[in-house]
């Protein structure tokens, strides 16, 4: 591995702020250190995948929004201008240069980012040529064209001219310039301190036009033809005939349904990469779909698989925790995600902040966490954003803390007394509190939390009519359904910036009729009610839009402090959620794994650093 002279300049605007935390992380991270010499190389790292691949866009990086997809792209297949080191703890959330020579500081009042690409990075077979700034530009243009199915294109709307290009009003994106094949300049409409992090996502990874042009307007189709720029490529890529669109047949190493095999990309040069970011130990990776969850864990235990992308159940936790010989195969890491109950600010009785606060007081968070497997599944959440996302700025902030986190009926009723719905005892007798619609999912764990929620809410006089839906998200995401409360949502960061919680979940301006993720409708205005099909109380709904606008433009420590302030306001003054757990990602690994680490940014296994017996 060659030394990269620019590595000392890693610290961009955000990275500088996170530096201190990184030092701490190096001390507290639960990831294994393990060998990193040549002896770790070789072998096949096999991963059992629960039920189905479950892609959101058929593994096409332009639209793929599945975390499992992110971890494969970022660790193994695709290189981006900026990336993470794929390690555990806060250090894993610091952006570092990947294709770029450095993470640039913004200029022009925070609205311009200029990247210089490294030399010597080549596309994998069959493209084989040098990777250029035009490939980066093409990827952004591709996601801007609506017909290509970008699912998180909103993160890039801040690029000047992107919206006009997407609407067909311009022939190019005015905010992207490529003065040379190794230089790319982004001009933004407003300062965005997290812009480099947005470029870590799969959709921003360069794409070779000569291949992808054949799949224009066919969302997801490129997923069977993804050309590698990273250390691994889809097995059989070298056999792909790109002489014409008609000649192309899907790459053999990915059947689209049951198995994805990655092998080394012969064009990858480790000298253009950082060993801190990617070690590339195994010779190949296999991702194998298995519909039998028990079978996945049996195979991991037997050494027939090395890892799993599956949901470990409490019985698996118990098995691996109680047996001392197995304990070393159990890995639990904070995943920067929050599990919560969401309450709709427009729907009675949750249109009253005192009711929402009372729900926070009365809920038995300890019991809710047990439904997920107890302490090994996560930490009790005391506010909205996981503490690591705020670099510990809200450590100790516990506005609804109760003994043992089991809830307090007395405090809940004291809060309820101030509500327009409750009587003097703090118990709601109003009809608005009876039979309130609660949307849940058919998943076993969601059903397990229901009795806890129902028993707690009953103590303040709220009863529910429960509807379990097979796939509840589309219902929740349709504003006209006017769902008062749900136990289904959980949210993980898209990248390591608090804005990935605040903007999609609480910004009133982002509320849309379908696909809406601001389930609580924080910040909704009366003028939006008709278009959104809202039936509840839309007057004077609390908003944090102004605060969010302020934070979005900030960088560094000021940015994190700003978002911490929003969290305080949300948790105490708005109380749209009952956050109950900051989730951990739990992995069970096989006995042949010789090195394993957690990718904090992706929230899954750090595939770039794993090793297996050859």
């Amino acid at each position: 591995m060659g030394v990269q002279p620019v590595r000392r300049r890693v610290a961009g605007a955000i990275a500088a702020v996170l530096g201190a935390a990184a030092l701490t992380a190096a001390l507290v991270s639960g990831a294994s250190a393990g060998p990193s010499d040549q002896s770790a190389r070789g072998g096949t790292y096999r991963v059992g995948w629960e039920s189905s691949f479950g892609w959101t866009n058929s593994f096409d990086p332009t639209g793929e929004y599945l975390a499992n997809g992110f971890v494969i792209y970022q660790n193994l297949m695709l290189r981006t201008l900026v990336q993470f080191n794929h390690v555990a703890g806060p250090a894993g959330n610091i952006p570092v240069p990947d294709l770029a020579t450095s993470v640039p500081k913004p200029t022009n009042g925070g609205k311009r980012y200029t990247f210089t690409l490294k030399n010597g990075v080549r596309w994998g077979p069959p493209v084989n040529r040098e990777l250029t700034s035009q490939d980066v530009k093409y990827a952004i243009e591709r996601l801007a064209r609506p017909k290509n199915g970008a699912q998180y294109g909103f993160y890039f709307n801040i690029i000047k001219g992107l919206q006009a290009y997407g609407d067909g009003k311009a022939k190019s994106i005015s905010g992207i310039k490529t003065p040379t094949s190794k230089k790319i300049i982004f001009d933004l409409t407003a300062p965005a301190g997290d812009f480099p992090m947005r470029l870590t996502m799969g959709a921003a990874a360069p794409i070779p036009q000569e291949v992808a042009k054949c799949f224009e307007g066919k969302p997801g189709a490129y997923g069977r033809y993804v050309i590698a720029s990273g250390p691994y490529m889809i097995e059989g890529s070298e056999d792909l005939d790109i002489s014409s669109c008609g000649a192309m047949k899907p790459i053999s190493g990915y059947d689209g349904q049951t198995k994805l095999t990655l092998v080394r990309n012969p064009n990858y040069r480790a000298s253009t990469d950082s060993r801190k970011a990617r070690e590339n130990n195994p010779d190949s990776f296999e991702f194998i779909v298995n519909t039998n969850l028990d079978d996945i864990y049996d195979k991991v235990g037997a050494g027939e698989l090395e890892d799993e992308f599956a949901t470990a159940s409490p019985k698996v936790f118990a098995e691996y925790s109680r047996d001392a010989s197995k304990r070393k195969y159990l890995k639990s890491n904070s995943a920067d995600g929050t599990y919560y109950l969401t309450m709709n600010l427009t729907q009675p009785p949750f249109d009253d902040v005192h009711v929402r606060r009372a729900m926070n007081w009365v809920m038995d968070k300890q019991a809710l966490r047990k439904a997920w497997g107890g302490p090994i599944a996560g930490e009790i959440a005391q506010h909205i954003l996981p503490n690591p996302m705020l670099l510990g700025k809200l450590n100790g902030f516990q506005p609804f803390k109760t003994p043992g986190d089991k809830g307090s009926v007395a405090k809940a009723r004291a809060e309820m007394k101030q509500s327009k719905y409750a009587n003097s005892n703090g118990v709601c007798k109003a009809k608005e509190c009876k039979g309130v619609l609660l949307i849940s999912d058919v998943r076993a764990v969601d059903k397990l939390t229901l009795p806890v929620i129902q028993a707690a809410a009953a103590k303040i006089g709220i009863t529910f009519t429960v509807r379990t839906v097979n796939g509840a998200y589309p219902v929740l995401q349709t504003t006209s359904k006017n769902v008062p409360i749900s136990n289904r949502p959980r949210w993980f960061k898209d990248y390591a910036d608090p804005s990935t919680f605040i903007d999609p979940l609480f910004f009133g301006g982002n509320i849309i009729p379908t696909g809406n993720t601001n389930y609580a409708l924080v910040g909704v205005k009366a003028s939006q009610a008709k278009a959104l099909g809202l039936t509840g109380n839309v007057n004077n709904v609390p908003s944090i839009d102004g605060l969010a606008d302020e934070c979005r433009a900030k960088t560094g420590n000021a940015r994190v402090t700003c978002y911490a302030a929003i969290d305080r306001v949300l948790t105490t003054q708005v109380a749209p959620w009952v956050p109950y757990m900051w989730a951990y990602t739990v992995n069970i690994i096989g006995p042949n794994v010789t090195k394993w680490t957690f990718d904090q940014a992706a929230g899954l296994t750090g595939l770039a650093h794993v090793a297996v017996k050859g």
Partner: protein
């Protein structure tokens, strides 16, 4: 039994006796009249039915178990709550779930142990009897009623009526009912009001409707076949020649002769409906999660059976016993009502 019963049956009154193997063999009054003169008492069809039925100990046992289950369905849940002091949806996460959220097994306080949410499994199993039997009996009753009406109309009127109704039943039989069930329940379960303007409510009602929707064609086909045969019988001809209208013939002549298959179909459909609900629950489409049913409990146990055997054993045993009881009763009724059937 209606007054027209058995008019289309075999000639001569039939009695039954046990043969050497213990099974019943059919004999006629002519057989028993051989030998010294013995006074043969005349028996009504009801007496004949009862005489045959009471000899079937398995069927009697099935009937007794069903009566017990009905008692359990009505009083079991509240009684269990009173005895244990535990509500059916009351979780005991601190005492009945371990640190990983796994439930503890049977104890002196929790006779059947706890379910995965830490609730008293005994109380929930007792309440489950109510839901499961309600689903079974109501759904079977409705399905048999609808199936009988459609089968009678199709079989009696024939021609276009038969074609339309029979093809309708065929279509329903051809429908992949699990897929459609998933669709219907999902479509009607996302709002408090249900669907079709509140006509179809989510929950128990919807589950029963789904079961009925896919169960009536079986009854309709059987009843249609029987009606096709019966409508050609002399007693129907006689009624018709005396001026009886279609309604009179269907209600007064045909229906009473269809009681046997109807009763048998109903008893067989009850356990099928209970199992159907269990299957829907397994897919997460059954009754609401706060309403215990055996199917629901078993569905929830599917991921934990290897570490919490009690989750499968207790509700499973009740489900098996119920299914067996209805099947035994159905078999006994069929044997007792249908004089042409030998065991």
């Amino acid at each position: 039994m209606g007054r027209s019963s058995f008019r289309s049956g075999t000639s001569g009154r039939c009695l039954y006796s046990r043969d050497d193997r213990g099974s019943r063999a059919r004999v006629t009054t002519a057989d028993v009249a051989v030998g010294p003169a013995v006074a043969v008492a005349g028996r009504s069809p009801r007496q004949l039915f009862w005489m045959r039925f009471k000899q079937d100990r398995a069927a009697i046992a099935g009937g007794v178990v069903i009566l017990l289950l009905i008692f359990l369905a009505i009083f079991g849940g509240p009684l269990a709550e009173r005895i244990t002091g535990h509500q059916q949806n009351e979780p005991f996460p601190e005492t009945m779930l371990d640190e990983f959220g796994l439930p503890f097994g049977p104890s002196s306080e929790f006779w059947f142990g706890a379910d995965a949410a830490g609730r008293d499994l005994f109380v929930r199993t007792m309440y489950g009897a109510r839901t499961s039997l309600l689903v079974g009996i109501v759904a079977a009753g409705l399905a048999v009623t609808i199936g009988t009406i459609i089968g009678l109309l199709a079989g009696y009127f024939g021609r276009l009526t038969d074609m339309l109704l029979s093809r309708g039943a065929d279509v329903m039989l051809a429908v992949p009912y699990f897929l459609i069930s998933i669709g219907i329940v999902a479509a009607c379960s996302t709002t408090k009001e249900g669907c079709l303007g509140g006509l179809v409510q989510p929950g128990l009602t919807l589950v029963i409707l789904v079961i009925v929707l896919f169960s009536w064609p079986y009854t309709a086909r059987v009843i249609r076949g029987n009606t096709l045969s019966l409508r050609e019988k002399e007693f129907v001809e006689a009624s018709r020649s005396l001026g009886a209208g279609s309604t009179r013939i269907i209600a007064g002549d045909l229906l009473p002769n269809l009681v046997a298959p109807i009763v048998v179909l109903a008893t067989l459909l009850v356990p099928q409906s209970i199992l159907f609900e269990a299957a829907l629950s397994y897919l997460g489409l059954g009754v609401p999660p706060d309403q215990a049913s055996w199917g629901q409990i078993l569905a929830d146990a599917s991921g934990l059976y290897d570490v919490a055997w009690w989750l499968m054993v207790f509700p499973g045993a009740f489900l098996v016993v119920t299914t067996l009881a209805f099947n035994l009763l159905g078999d006994g009724l069929r044997d007792a009502l249908d004089v042409r059937t030998d065991r």
